[in-house]
């Protein structure tokens, strides 16, 4: 069965030529990918990231933006590698979200 990301040759509409300036958070996602895969760290491989992107459910793959897919894949890869635990990441995300509430 064809995997959802493997889309070469499928029908599709016109190519939308509009482009967006990358937001800072998106550039930071890209930076994380570069830094973590660098030879001096080797905490993830691009191939692991791709596998995790490809494993997203089809509706999520389509709905998520490019860098949303990548941050999801970076998190999953680092969890798989044991760089941190799900509990650590979950607590830190909750803390980040709580900071927004504080005036």
């Amino acid at each position: 069965m064809r995997s959802h990301h493997d889309m070469g040759g499928l029908p599709a509409g016109p190519v939308e030529r509009s482009e967006h300036d990358y937001a800072l958070w998106e550039k930071r996602v890209d930076a994380l990918m570069v830094l973590l895969s660098a030879p001096q760290r080797r905490l993830l491989r691009v191939d692991e990231l791709r596998r995790n992107v490809e494993a997203l459910p089809p509706d999520a793959y389509d709905r998520m933006s490019y860098y949303e897919r990548w941050i999801s894949a970076i998190a999953n890869t680092l969890l798989q590698r044991g760089v941190f635990t799900a509990d650590e990441l979950g607590r830190k995300m909750a803390e980040v979200e709580a900071r927004q509430e504080t005036p």
Binding site: S3, D6, D47, E48, R50
Partner: protein
Amino acid sequence: MSGAPEALAATFAPGARVKVRRAAPPGHLRTPWYIRGQVGEVERLCGAFANPEELAYNRPGVPRQPLYRVRFRQRELWPDYRGAAQDTIEIEIYQHWLEPAP
């Protein structure tokens, strides 16, 4: 492990006719669906590279696989191809996805 090759020997020469295997294992594959089962011609050997299917699971992916660029005729790939007869497509394909074509 002494004696184990670091890279597999290349079995196809430029110009060889090759067929892309049909297979659909789970995991991370770099052979696109649309090219499986198709026949093309080796354009060049790129060298030997660690297998991305293994790298995707943080395994070393050795021995390194020969990687080829294979050329296909668009008219043979797509029954409804409306471009020119001489249009082609070239794709990088790892040796373990290729077999000799009749």
